[in-house]
Subunit: 423 residues, 2 copies
C-alpha cells in the first residue's frame, strides 16, 4: 500500500519567479510527515487551460491526492476553484452560509474605513463563495475559503498566502475525504538533527563510514541540507528501524559532539530563549544593524528577557550611546575586538543587563582592506559576572549573507556562553 | 506567432523542499527577456519514469522548447540524459572528444590529491560523455556537459548547480537548434506599478471598470500580487499595445493617486534611500525591535545616511536611552502617540540626526486590551525642522505579520514625510 500526491502551484507571479514559492516545499514536508509520497510539483500561471492541463497530468499519473495553492482571490485572474470544478465535472454553486461568513470578515476588515462602497466590495468577493457542488468547505483564514473535492484524485484547493494556507491545511487534514484519499499511506518516523560549524563534506565522510558500521543503514532515508551555516540532517524511517537510527545518532555524537547542538529539531533560537529565562539581554549592533535584536524578539514573551539594544552604525553612535572610548576606535578601528568588547560592556551598563551581545563588522561591498577584508566580523558576548567571549571571523558571501550569517554566529556564541555560565 | 517553453526541474532534494530551486525562476526570467512564453514548470525526483512523464506532458502541451535542470552527475541516480534520449527516440552514443575533455577537467581537479585511482574516477564519469545521437554538446563548466536535442519539442539539458547552469545557458542561446525552436518568439514590454494602502478588492473593481473604458484592454496581460501590504501590478504587452497601457496607467493614477507610489518598479526602499541622500536618520523601535534599522541598512552605502537606532523594548530603555519622560509613559501607556513622539524626539537628539522614525506597538499574542488590542501600533516621523507626522493603526495578522507590516508602514510614512519636506 502507498499513497501518492501531487502539488499544483498556480500564480503567474510564482511561475515567472517574481515571488518565491513557499507553499510547495511546506506542503512537501507535511506530506512526508503523513507518510504520503510526493511524485510531482507543477507550477503554472493564472490560466485556466494550463491549470486544467496540470490537473489532468496528475490524474493520468495516478496520484491519490492533488493539492493546489493560489488563485482564490477576488480578482478576475483568480480562477482555480472554477477550473477545479470543471476538471472534477461538478457545477459551481453559491454557498450562502459561506457568503455570509465572508461578508462578516469583510465588514470587520473595512470597519473603520470611510468612502468604501461595501456592496461593491461584497459583489467582488461573491465569487469566493462559489464552490463545486458536493465539495467540503474549509473556513477562510483570510477571506478565501478552501475546498476539498472528493474523487479520483481528491483535490484539495488552498489559498496562496502561506499564513492562510498553513492553518487551513491543518483543518483539511481532519477532513473525511482527505483522509480517505491518503488511506494507503505508510507511517514513518522523522527526526531532525542540527549541527553548526561542520562543513558538508565532513558530514558526507561520516555518513559514508556509517553506511558500513550501522546495521540497517539502508533503511534510513537521510537528507542533509546546509542553511545559514547550519547543517540540518533529517532522517525518515519505518518504526521498526528505530535501532538503526539510534546507532546512527551514536556515530554522529561520537564524531561531531562539538558541532551537534540539537537532536530534537529545536532551533538555536529556541535554545537561547530557554537559556535566557531569568536573565536580561541587551544588544549592540553595527553591521547587523538590528537583525540580532529582531531575531531575539521574534518569539512571544521575549519582553521577559530582552531589554533592548543599540544600533550603533556610526562611530559617534558607538561613543555617545554605548560609551565606547573614541580613542579606542582611533587606535584599533571600529571593526576590532577591543571595540566589540567595549560595545558589549556599554550595552550591559546602559540597559542594566546581565547578558550582552555586540557585533561590529564589514558587510561590504565597500569598506574592506587587505588587513580587514569584507566579511570580517568581531563578536563579543559579555555576562554580568565579568566573563567575556570574543571572536573574529571572516565570513563568506555577499552583504546580505554576511549580515545573516553574523546573526546566526551571535546566537551560537550566546548559546555556548550561557550554557557554560549555567553549568 | 509565439514560442512556448516548459521547464523540468529534477532532483529529489528539490522536490522534497530540502533545497530551494533557484534554476526555475532564473530560467523563467531569461525566457521572458527572450520573449518566449513560459507555460509550465514541473519538479520531480530522480526517477526516470517521473522525468519521462513530465517530458511527455510538456510535449502534449505543445511547447516548442523544454529546458531541464539537474541529474547530470556521475552517480547512478543521475539519469536525465538517458531519459531525454529515450524520450526523443535517440540512441546514446559515446562522444570521444567529449570524454577527452572531461578527462582533462578531472585531471586538473584531482591534480594534487593522493590515493585517488584516476582510472576508476574516469570510468565513473564516462557516462557523462554519453550523449543522444545527433545532439549538440554544450561544453561543461563543472564536469557535466549539457546537450541540445533538436526536435518537437527541442530539449535543452542543463546541469543542476546554478554556477554551472547559468554560463551554459548563455552558450545554449547561441545554438542553432535552440534558435530554431524559439523562432516564433514575441518581444514583450513589462511594466511594474506599486500601490500601498489599497485593498486588493478595490483594485479588482477598478480593473473591471478599466476593462470597459480602456481600448485594447484585452491585449494587456495583468497580474496582481499583494505582498507585505503592498500591491504589485505587473503588465506585459506587445509594443504596439503601448497606448492601451498608457490609458490603463491614467485610470490607475486617476482613481488611486494617493495609493500609487511607483510606476517604474522602484521599491519603497529605493525611494526612501534616494530621499535620505544628504540627511541623517535614526530609529527608535519597540515592537519592531530593529527590523526598521535592519531594512534601512539593507543596501550598500546606507552608512552615508543611517546614524543608528535604539531598540527600546523595555520602558526603562525608553527612559534611559531615549530620554522619554517616565511620567508620560505612566500617563498614556508605552503604546501611545505621545510616547512615539517622545521616542522620535529622543532619537533625533541622541544621534544628532535630522530624521527619526519611532514605533511602539503591541505585536502580541499577549499584551492586548480592549482599548488597545493586539496589532495597535503608534508611529512617528520627526524631522529636524520640527515637523512631525504621527499615526496609530490597528494591524491584522500574527506577531510576525504585525512586525513586518509595521516596518512597511514606517517606510511609507518616511516616504510621505520626506517627499513633503523636499517640496
Amino acid at each position: 500500500m502507498s499513497a501518492r500526491a501531487g502539488i499544483v502551484v498556480t500564480g503567474t507571479e510564482v511561475l515567472t519567479g517574481r515571488v518565491q514559492d513557499r507553499n510547495g516545499p511546506w506542503i512537501a514536508d507535511r506530506l512526508l510527515e503523513l507518510g504520503v509520497e510526493l511524485a510531482h510539483i507543477t507550477i503554472c500561471g493564472d490560466r485556466p487551460a494550463d491549470i486544467e492541463a496540470q490537473l489532468r497530468f496528475m490524474a493520468a499519473e495516478g496520484v491519490d491526492l492533488v493539492v493546489t495553492s493560489g488563485g482564490l482571490g477576488p480578482t478576475a485572474d483568480d480562477m482555480t476553484v472554477a477550473t477545479v470544478a470543471r476538471f472534477c465535472g461538478r457545477e459551481l454553486v453559491l454557498d450562502e452560509a459561506l457568503e455570509e461568513t465572508i461578508a462578516g470578515i469583510l465588514r470587520r476588515l473595512m470597519g473603520g474605513r470611510h468612502g468604501v462602497d461595501f456592496e461593491a466590495v461584497m459583489a467582488a468577493n461573491r465569487k469566493q463563495a462559489m464552490v463545486p457542488e458536493g465539495a467540503h468547505v474549509l473556513s477562510p483564514v483570510g477571506t478565501a475559503p478552501g475546498v476539498v473535492v472528493p474523487g479520483s484524485p481528491t483535490v484539495l484547493v488552498l489559498p496562496g498566502p502561506p499564513r492562510e494556507l498553513q492553518p487551513m491545511w491543518r483543518t483539511a487534514v481532519d477532513d473525511d475525504a482527505f483522509s480517505a484519499a491518503i488511506a494507503g499511506r505508510t507511517v514513518y518516523r522523522q527526526e531532525t538533527i542540527r549541527m553548526f560549524g561542520l562543513p558538508e563534506s565532513g558530514l558526507a565522510e561520516t555518513l559514508r563510514e556509517a553506511e558500513q558500521s550501522v546495521r540497517g543503514f539502508d533503511r534510513l532515508e537521510i537528507t542533509t541540507c546546509l542553511r545559514r551555516g547550519e547543517l540540518e540532517i533529517v532522517t525518515r524511517y519505518e518504526p521498526d528501524a528505530a535501532d538503526s537510527y539510534a546507532a546512527l545518532l551514536d556515530v554522529l555524537r561520537d564524531k561531531h559532539g562539538r558541532e551537534l547542538f540539537s537532536i530534537d529539531g529545536a532551533l538555536v533560537d529556541d535554545q537561547v530563549a530557554a537559556l535566557l529565562a531569568g536573565r536580561t539581554i541587551a544588544t549592540a549592533e553595527s553591521c547587523t544593524a538590528g537583525l540580532v535584536a529582531a531575531r531575539l524578539t521574534d518569539r512571544p514573551g521575549s519582553s521577559d528577557y530582552v531589554a533592548g539594544g543599540v544600533v550603533s552604525y556610526s562611530n559617534d553612535a558607538k561613543v555617545n550611546l554605548l560609551g565606547v572610548d573614541a580613542a579606542l576606535i582611533e587606535a584599533h578601528g571600529a571593526v576590532s575586538e577591543p571595540v566589540a568588547e567595549a560595545m558589549a560592556a556599554g550595552a550591559l551598563r546602559r540597559f542594566d543587563a546581565d547578558t550582552a551581545v555586540a557585533i561590529t563588522g564589514i558587510a561590504g561591498p565597500g569598506g574592506g582592506s587587505e588587513e580587514k577584508p569584507v566579511g570580517t566580523v568581531c563578536f563579543c558576548i559579555a555576562l554580568g559576572d565579568g566573563r567575556i567571549h570574543t571572536r573574529t571571523l571572516v565570513l563568506p558571501g555577499n552583504r546580505s549573507d554576511i549580515r545573516e550569517r553574523s546573526t546566526t554566529v551571535a546566537l551560537h556564541m550566546l548559546r555556548h556562553a550561557l550554557t557554560e555560565a549555567a553549568s
